[in-house]
Symmetry: C2
Subunit: 379 residues, 2 copies
Amino acid sequence: MRPSRDGLSSVETAVSWIDAVARRLDRESVPLLEAARRVLADDIRVQRPIPACDAAALDGFAVSADETIGASTYNPLHLPAIEVAAGAALPAGMNAVVPLDHAEPDDAGRVIVVDALAPGDNVDRQGASIISEGLLISGGTLLGPRHIGICAAAAVTQLPVVRRPRVRIVSAGTPRAGATDSDGPMLRSLIERDGGIVSEHVTVERSRSALSQALAAGGSHIVLLVGGTGKGRDDESAPALAAAGELAIHGIALRPGETVGLGRTSAGAPVVLLPGPPAACLWAYELFAGRAIRRLGGRVLELPHRSSVVTTTRKIVSSIGMTEICPVACRPEGSVEPVAPFAEIGLMAAVGADGFIIIPQTSEGYPPGASVNVYLYDC
Amino acid sequence: MRPSRDGLSSVETAVSWIDAVARRLDRESVPLLEAARRVLADDIRVQRPIPACDAAALDGFAVSADETIGASTYNPLHLPAIEVAAGAALPAGMNAVVPLDHAEPDDAGRVIVVDALAPGDNVDRQGASIISEGLLISGGTLLGPRHIGICAAAAVTQLPVVRRPRVRIVSAGTPRAGATDSDGPMLRSLIERDGGIVSEHVTVERSRSALSQALAAGGSHIVLLVGGTGKGRDDESAPALAAAGELAIHGIALRPGETVGLGRTSAGAPVVLLPGPPAACLWAYELFAGRAIRRLGGRVLELPHRSSVVTTTRKIVSSIGMTEICPVACRPEGSVEPVAPFAEIGLMAAVGADGFIIIPQTSEGYPPGASVNVYLYDC
């Protein structure tokens, strides 16, 4: 592979480092009502069959199928039958259900049946819902509404889930007046999207000792130190991390985001140094911090955007040696075209785009008509 | 179009009814930190330019571009320069930035420059980030992390968003012992997924008067009445709604879910009658209740699953006159195949599936090799 530019580490090297350092957290037990969007830590198995007994699949009359033999509109049979609601247990001796509107009661307490039924017709058989030896849901599943529903049906009221990663945000105090903290609110919503919890957000003075001290505090599974990641006079984040623990990587061939750094606190928690400028902060988060948080929480590692292979209508230029993020707009005919880049309009490039392409550092870009993999924003 | 079976209303008719009755709610103002995943009610425009002034795009030395003319490695120029951090305002008289590692200070307080720069090089121009006449984000946008970030950058601290729909769940008390409420927890997570809030969840006796009374209570934007929707002896939900307000539609050609009903309270709030059996409850929610909640909350109306056109490897059979939901599994080669249906294994069919196909009532299904539109579960 072509080397990254200027002695920067490649995105791939940095991702491998993240994958080696960020390990899935322990399990905890939560009530079913709090389990949505959590990751199941272990397989859920059930001991008892679902349904617990043979049950009516619809509203109707429970009958003995044998007795319906020969029934037809020309030969209506008057049979003993018991009205049942969908989901109700079949009464003893009954093994099929005539739908409510296919039968009617006679005056003698019986029911007139005009169809022959086979045993099991319109019946949910005991145990039929569990296909594979009691396995209800596999460990590692991100729990959605249907999983919550099947657990409730199986009377599973507590679930073992992977702990939510606790994320500490340390903002290196802004060195200039009038600057607003656009990174804090954005990071908070990114972290929540990825299943993490912001356990603390502190702003500290932009000095090596203050930053080192902030990095030494415990209580979180990962620390994001925002700002001061460059090589300028008041950029103290990298030396502070080196002093407080380990600075493993500083400077990655990613644009925007090249001043990002990776390392660990002395207690071993991963630390991501995120650049202060919002667009660089976003992409350093997306490629590294977000992946680490998703790993800690047991989620799938890929970016949480749907991806799709489409055609680009215009040439896309990229620098060899840098992984570049190119914002794109969707065209009505299903292709995409590049829009105003991050280098020109900062974070607004992401706001104006429908999605983005990640152009690897080995590529100079794409000619018009090339197939590209695009990640699309849902929101 | 072919008529629905048995005098049932078509899914299309029911959807049109929902779309006519469920209207987008009013706006409310929320702090930026609470705005993620909310729907913006109005356009956000900014009065002041972003960036507020010409600013350094990267860490470096601010210079006057004119003075760099002629600079090269063979002709290094010693120029007056001021070190700036990325994002910092350009000092007066400076109009370009030399990257930090392309220059170095000499001993005389100046900086040695070896590249000629044009005015604006490595500068974020005042106002450059806002492309279209102050428009930051369009009304109707579902706010994601990048929108939160751009608002923070523009110092927008309160946002006008569409109110979250308040949903009242009324469970018709189960008529049989030992039955568990699998619908309540599942509905709660579906409602939250669609941006709603469960304002109240009550379980009431399964009698017409008790249900009517429960439907008359106010305080919510929509009511979901669960269970008792069939035509059996203890199915009182439809008559209760007719008594308490308006029963507009009862019985829809949807499988699972055909006993679903639609109507309004006397105060005009939409009511969806959801069948009790979990699979039927799920699909009646997905096609009607969920759509109503998404409409109330200003969200896109489509099902919140990504869809994709794929090939089916096996024949899929469906009944004419019924819209049927067919669970499918993804095959490694990108096609799908039908898996155990809802009619056989109930809600477990959704748990075991990777996604589903909605087969319209005009279709008898698909032969192997047909192109079908599949909705894929993310979780």
